[in-house]
């Protein structure tokens, strides 16, 4: 049972890298706080010593948006802009850390110390960035082709009525089944770069494709499993966060800890994916 063994070994590799994952979590938290803290002080400024916040104890009362006047627009604008900036810097940050993680999983000698992790991240950063951009583009193109085109045709044919929404399940399924392939290519290529120390992106992609082709069925099965676990956890975590309404200061702190724990698990699950693909690459072709 190669398949189960690989998943297990990947999990073990990810779990023993917990220190690296904690570094990633802390850095990401700091970065988001840089935006969140000023936003919170704007919010505090708006409400000042008002009791209107009592109206928001069980969820944001959108009826207060008008009372906030211009501040609401500023807050909304700042949150949107801050969010976009965070997505951009976050993309760079996690691409950076991916370089370290793949090096750790490609190497046979267990956990990296923090310095070597950073060094490996820095060394791989540029080729990993190019590769991440390319693969993200490919995934966007894939989405547009498989989902965008049928939706467009359907909208045109049914005059916007979208009467065939049941039919839309087919492209959605094709899209979902195709996603593991792209992630496998990306991960195999990055694993190749980390293992060989080469920074040549296109060669890495060729090697990634080749590596994947030789072990396609095993790779695909493992990746699909990892993805399903990731997606389920992702959905559940967001659902829990959205529907939680802690009402007192202490509860909010606990809620904060819980969300951060969920984010840590999310990082762990993603590292598990990297580790599993790194294990897959070692399988005999």
């Amino acid at each position: 049972m190669d398949y189960i063994r690989i998943l297990k070994r990947g999990a073990a590799a990810a779990a023993t890298s917990y220190r690296l994952i904690i570094i990633m979590w802390l850095t990401a938290l700091m970065m988001v706080l840089l935006v969140a803290v000023p936003l919170k002080s704007i919010l505090k400024g708006v409400f000042d010593r008002s009791l209107a916040t009592e109206r928001m104890l069980d969820g944001f009362d959108a009826g207060l948006a008008g009372d906030m006047g211009q501040s609401f627009g500023y807050l909304f604008g700042a949150a949107t802009l801050g969010g976009l900036l965070l997505m951009l810097t976050g993309f760079l940050l996690f691409t950076f850390f991916a370089g370290g993680l793949f090096t750790r999983f490609a190497a046979a000698y267990g956990d990296l110390n923090v310095a070597s992790f950073m060094k490996a991240s820095a060394r791989n950063f540029f080729p990993f960035l190019v590769l991440a951009l390319l693969m993200t583009l490919i995934i966007f193109a894939w989405t547009a082709l498989i989902i965008g085109v049928p939706v467009g045709i359907m909208a045109a044919v049914t005059d916007g009525a979208m009467t065939g929404s049941n039919l839309m399940r087919i492209p959605l399924l094709i899209w979902a089944l195709g996603m593991p392939v792209w992630l496998l290519v990306a991960d195999h290529s990055r694993r190749w770069m980390a293992a060989t120390g080469s920074g040549r992106v296109f060669r890495a992609m060729g090697a990634g494709f080749g590596s994947l082709k030789r072990r396609f069925m095993r790779s695909y099965g493992a990746m699909l499993t990892v993805m399903i676990v990731n997606v389920l956890f992702f959905g559940a975590a967001l659902w829990i966060a959205a529907w939680s309404v802690p009402e007192r200061g202490g509860m909010i702190f606990l809620f904060f800890l819980a969300t951060q724990l969920m984010f840590l698990i999310r990082l762990l699950l993603k590292s598990w994916r990297y580790a599993v693909v790194s294990e897959l690459a070692l399988l005999p072709a």
Binding site: R49, S50, D61, G90, L183
Partner: protein
């Protein structure tokens, strides 16, 4: 010739005025229409053979008549309606019009030659939506004018209030229709005369309560519905069928035909509910019908009985979306065609709103052109009360753990958030609102000040105001002044002089004024009172403390400011650290007001308008002050923001 004239004179009125639905007419029935129409689905036209009658209820002879020809608003880009930019045709097939091919009076006089267009509102010579007919012999007081009219109505596309899209037909504003002949005194009018407005981009209703006997011939595969009660349905055997409806005491008659309609029937007390919807809309049919039943129950209990034994309710499909959110009393449309997610109660809100017009416009037939607030504002106010009563525990539009909003606040937000909220008074005719403020003013501002009125005089008194308004004005034509008079009488009866001699001071500000309302806590201090030290008459005099040593005396001062120009009486709640609470009343006439308290207690919180009576206050955040602000809500929001951002970043980085 004479014989047929005899039959026309004797029998037609007998049939037309005969009671089919109500034993006793609900209204004066000044006008009536008997129409035989044929829908041509290829050419998108409805041809009609109509007998229309109007009774001169004034004391003077009337020598001309005015008729609405609404569909001509779609006949050129220069009509007052189309030139507003509200509508442009979908290709050449999209133009609409109503053409009168023959018009004669009961004596056979051809009136076609005397017809000419007038534009009483804006003088636009290209507007053909009001037709004047000069009568060869004046209609004497008490006499009836009968017109026989052959007309052809080409429906416009896209649908705005009326029209077609492919095989979907929403046939409204489709036949020549009398204006309202107002007698002196009616709606504070000085002399008799016709009231017949052009077709404007905003607002469209003012008509007499009428009797309608309408038959339409449509292709057999079409499913049809109307604001009338079904009388008979005949298969013509040629691929068409004829449907005959009758409606009594309604102000307009609309109908619809589409092969795709699914029909759901239900009943509320004695009212037959017919729901026409699409395949998609079927899955929310229960929600939709319940929304209307909620409306029926609420208004029946608080305003007056729903008098008709029938109502038809339509959730148009996507192709008929332009017909959504319309009201023709006993037929009205929802919106969304089943595409709105169920946690958002927008479809229910629209259904309740359009149903509500059966009362505010249908029964209480005010002039929407001239006083849109009395129609749309009053109706929005009730819609908000109903939606917030039946859904989401006070947060009718949306209630999720992370976000909530009431229907009343949604309206209030669009008023207080509008940069043009002071652009005009609230009593303008619909076509004179500047800066695109018509909707915000006639719907949302008016609803917001009606909520404020309710807050001031109490919900119970407000309900009694509307019961009295219904009792006085049902099946008549009330004006804003008539409404205010009702408010004044009921408030005086229930509250005496509490609000002064009348409530005119309120309406002068909210309806006829442009000021805004805003109160704020401008400062709260609790200062220790120290003993006297210094020299008095050569001696040193010390302040005597109270006998309990631990007690410190404070001078607490609460400063309230009125920053808006609107002056409304307001309550202020002051709470002290020992748990005491004081409610202060302030008439809000001055700009500032200080409340001072001396004692051993410090102020811990101040709330202006603690019961949220004054919805008009444009900023409620500055209405309160606490010595111990809690930031739990913002803390929670930020925690969610942080987590959401982390997750999104991890998702978008492969």
């Amino acid at each position: 010739m004479r014989q047929s004239l005899f039959i026309l004179l004797v029998f037609i009125p007998a049939i037309m005025r005969g009671q089919v639905i109500f034993d006793v007419p609900l209204s004066e029935r000044t006008t009536g229409y008997d129409i035989a129409a044929v829908l041509e689905t290829e050419s998108k036209t409805v041809t009609g053979d109509m007998t229309a009658w109007w009774v001169n209820r004034s004391a003077m002879p009337v020598d001309h008549a005015l008729l609405h020809l609404y569909l001509n608003a779609f006949s050129s880009n220069k009509s007052s309606f189309a030139s507003s930019g509200r509508w442009s045709p979908a290709g050449d097939e999209g133009w609409g019009y109503v053409r009168i091919n023959r018009m004669s009076d009961e004596y056979g006089n051809d009136l076609t030659m005397t017809m000419h267009y007038v534009a009483p509102d804006d003088g636009n010579i290209n507007d053909r939506t009001v037709l004047q007919i000069d009568l060869p012999r004046p209609v004497l007081p008490g006499d009836t004018l009968k017109l026989n009219i052959l007309f052809e109505s080409k429906l416009p596309s896209p649908i705005v209030r009326t029209g077609f899209n492919k095989d979907y037909f929403w046939v409204a504003q489709w036949f020549p229709k009398f204006g309202v002949y107002e007698t002196a005194g009616m709606r504070q009018r000085e002399s008799d005369g016709w009231n017949c407005h052009q077709f404007h981009p905003n607002s469209e209703f003012y008509s007499n309560h009428s009797v309608y006997d309408v038959s339409v011939t449509i292709p057999s595969e079409y499913v049809a519905g109307s604001g009338g009660q079904l009388v008979e349905e005949i298969d013509n055997g040629d691929g068409t069928r004829k449907i005959r409806w009758r409606a009594e005491d309604i102000v307009d008659f609309a109908w619809t035909a589409w092969p795709g309609y699914k029909v759901v029937r239900d009943k509320w007390r004695g009212v037959d509910i017919t729901f026409l919807t699409s395949e998609k809309g079927l899955k929310i049919a229960d929600n939709q019908i319940n929304a209307v039943k909620n409306g029926l129950e609420y208004l029946d209990a608080r305003v007056g009985p729903y008098p008709w034994p029938h109502l038809t309710f339509v959730d148009p499909p996507m192709e008929g979306a332009g017909a959504g959110g319309m009201e023709y009393t006993t037929i009205f449309t929802s919106a969304g065609s089943g595409l709105i997610p169920p946690f958002l109660k927008m479809a229910e809100m629209v259904s309740i709103h359009e149903f509500g017009h059966a009362y505010f416009m249908g029964i209480l037939a005010s002039n929407e052109f001239e006083e849109p607030w009395l129609d749309e504002g009053v109706n929005s106010y009730w819609e908000e009360r109903i939606v917030d009563n039946y859904y989401g525990g006070g947060y009718g539009i949306i209630r999720l753990p992370f976000i909530k909003m009431s229907d009343a606040d949604m309206a209030r937000t669009s008023y207080i958030g509008s940069p043009s909220k002071q652009a005009a008074t609230n009593d303008l005719p619909s076509w004179l609102y500047p800066h695109g403020t018509y909707g915000m003013m006639s719907y949302q501002k008016a609803a917001t000040w009606l909520h404020t009125l309710e807050g001031l005089i109490s919900t119970e008194t407000m309900d009694n105001v509307f019961r009295e308004y219904y009792r006085r004005w049902a099946f008549k034509h009330p004006s804003g002044k008539d409404f205010i008079e009702t408010v004044n009488d009921v408030v005086r009866k229930e509250h005496g002089e509490k609000f002064g001699n009348d409530m005119n001071w309120f309406f002068d500000q909210v309806l006829y004024g442009t000021e805004i309302c805003d109160y704020r806590v401008s400062g709260v201090t609790s200062r220790k009172i120290t003993g006297y030290s210094g020299i008095a008459d050569g001696d040193s005099v010390a302040f005597t403390r109270s006998d309990r040593k631990s007690d410190t005396l404070y001078l607490a001062r609460v400063g309230i400011e009125r920053t808006g120009g609107m002056m409304l009486p307001v309550e202020v709640l002051v709470r002290f650290d020992n748990g005491d609470e004081v409610i202060e009343e302030w008439d809000g006439k001055e700009r500032f007001r200080d409340f001072e308290y001396t004692g051993t207690r410090k102020v811990t919180r101040v709330i202006i308008d603690p019961d949220n009576k004054i919805d008009l206050d444009i900023n409620r955040i500055n209405n309160s002050w606490t010595d111990d602000p809690q930031f739990t809500a913002s803390g929670r929001m930020m925690t969610k923001f942080i987590f959401l951002m982390q997750m999104v970043i991890s998702l978008f980085t492969i």
